[in-house]
Symmetry: C2
Subunit: 370 residues, 2 copies
């Protein structure tokens, strides 16, 4: 039975809903902001993993997309998207060969942050006669992947000397979720990140290394980073949907949240508790709520009043505020803490306009983590 044209009251649960009007508005907001700052918007598709949304972003002015892994890039290249940056260090001969092959079908840029990475990519590209565009990853404080300023110069020279590789620029990622910095202003962090990257690029250029692209940013930091002179590209992802975390840091308003979870009350174990049919296979569990200043794993939308305080795989325990007493069988809407990992748990999203399902979109690159 197709769900298209049906009311939300008829939708089987748990289900992921995308509010089309809000999605379009969010896509427009970041496209406008990048256009105003005259930087390229290269949205990160890891948030939605959905071909339809990537195409909306490109139509709104995005100049290519960002992917987290080669497997994601392969799905989007197959669908005809022509300019893809895999913002991840490609390691391993098998992956290097896949990258070199993919570069024969689209304009592919890959990340690198080690000598081994440069060697493996160069060997693979040389082996099949393709050219890989490469960006060197800078660690701007996350302590994860990326190199410091000193090592960046050395690595850029290795890329310049490596057969089959072409140096495209530098990039960094500050961390979209700011788990350690929820009290700090993302606008300030974005500016600092941008200035740091431009300074590094300037020093590399003075040393004779041609740096074309300086790519930065996450959803909270993209707007301010884009305004730093010299930045050429921003890579926000979460902004298409926003979530409780981006709202917590002030980047989004509650009425901009475009992705929600529809769940059914299956039990009422106590006057202040409801059990819903959505648990840790529906709401993401990658963020410890207290670490980002949130209560619970999800919260109901306006007019209802509940918080998901515990999750098992197929059960969510919702603490109800006084006066809110849904019955068994009632359907409730929740906003998740982190949309990217929530979407990764779903095979599809239902696209809604008001209370009606308008389309079903497949999460085409779900689980493509290789």
């Amino acid at each position: 039975m197709s769900m298209i044209g049906r009311s939300l009251t008829e939708v089987d649960t748990p289900a992921l809903l995308v509010d089309l009007a809000r999605l379009e508005k969010n896509i427009r907001r970041y496209a406008d902001s990048a256009a105003k700052a005259r930087v390229r918007l290269r949205p990160h598709i890891k948030t939605h993993k959905t071909l339809e949304i990537a195409k909306m972003q490109l139509q709104a002015g995005a100049g290519g997309i960002t992917a987290a892994k080669l497997g994601e890039a392969e799905v989007f290249a197959e669908a005809g998207i022509e300019d893809i940056f895999v913002a991840y260090p490609i390691i391993g001969p098998e992956k290097a060969l896949r990258a070199a092959r993919l570069a024969q079908h689209c304009r592919l840029i890959v990340g690198v942050e080690s000598e081994k990475g440069v060697q493996q990519l160069s060997e693979a590209a040389s082996q099949i006669g393709s050219t890989l565009l490469v960006r060197v990853e800078i660690d701007s404080g996350l302590g994860r992947t990326g190199v410091g300023q000193e090592a960046a110069g050395k690595l850029c020279r290795q890329v310049l000397d490596a057969p089959g590789l072409s140096l495209d620029g530098i990039f960094t990622f500050r961390g979209a979720s700011f788990p350690e910095a929820s009290s700090r202003d993302p606008q300030i962090l974005g500016r600092l990140e941008g200035e740091m990257m431009v300074a590094i690029a300037e020093r590399l250029r003075r040393a004779g290394i041609p740096i074309q692209e300086i790519s930065v940013g996450s959803t909270p930091t993209a707007t301010s980073a884009a305004e730093v002179p010299g930045i050429t590209e921003v890579r926000p992802g979460t902004y298409v949907f926003f979530d409780r975390m981006t709202t917590q840091v002030g980047t989004s308003a509650p009425d901009e949240l475009a992705l929600s979870i529809l769940a059914t009350v299956v039990s009422r174990p106590a006057p202040d508790l409801a059990i819903i049919d959505a648990g840790s296979k529906t709401f993401c569990g990658d963020v410890i709520p207290a670490n980002v200043g949130l209560e619970g794993y999800g919260a109901t939308i306006d007019g209802q009043n509940g918080v998901v305080i515990r999750m098992n795989e197929e059960h969510g325990t919702v603490r109800l505020a006084p006066g809110f007493s849904p019955e068994i069988g009632d359907k409730l809407l929740f906003f998740p803490n982190h949309v990217c990992t929530t979407v990764n748990l779903s095979d599809e999203v239902l696209v809604t306009h008001g209370e009606v399902v308008k389309a079903i979109w497949r999460v085409a690159a779900r689980g493509r983590r290789q």
Copy 2:
């Protein structure tokens, strides 16, 4: 390129590996234990979601399977499995109708714990002329779904009076993970759970309610619960693979863990840190490690010495013990905290014998949460 016949050094990462010898041994151990106690073993397939493993369990003596949701049951029924218990309260007219339809294709038992559930199942079964076997869920202390002793009697009578329904017995679930009770002995908890359920069944029988089946148990509690006279069925799930949590509570030994994650080192940001290409899209995040007495989200197998202390979607930060210094490109093996939710993140598992891939099994019911 098929991975079958290849060595683990050639496997692309991240990948889930199943040690076939350990899997067979674990399946045999619980089958023998149930046979010795003369109870039916009805393993919960939510752990593996894989047809091949369910068939191994049935061949080893399991009398049917348990599923968490109707969507899982539909996948296994389609594959020819004939006796399925959905240990979850079925709520909603759409789901009740799906259950009634599925009952025409296999021997289906469903859970119920509310008057509304009884009504909806009865209406659906009557509508299409099928009969649904029903078990009433008892809350044995988890405070999630299930009813107390008093309400159980009332609900059983409603089932007995409802057209299209047939009362099969009672069931409970104590929680496989024991998040709140890691310091308590699961053997004792299993016995208490079994004794409580038998006492409830006896009282219902004295009141004239025919209770045939008394179904209990999780992996840690199944063995001791099975030994309580009167128990007819146990439903462990995790035992096929075991995990860090079952080892933590003493149910499994480290050399019984049958599911591991192969990941590649992509960066070495510090002497005591490695970044791997597996994060929260690979290791489950549904358990807060400190709450179950564990350190980190995964730990390396013998001979290596690292713990996954932080996760982003595609990055795991591994803290290395002194003396262990893997290079970029090295592949490491990790055990996850909770196998059920880890498997739900994967489309397939690689079945290994020694260092060689023998088969690839699809996680056929992954994500079937409706």
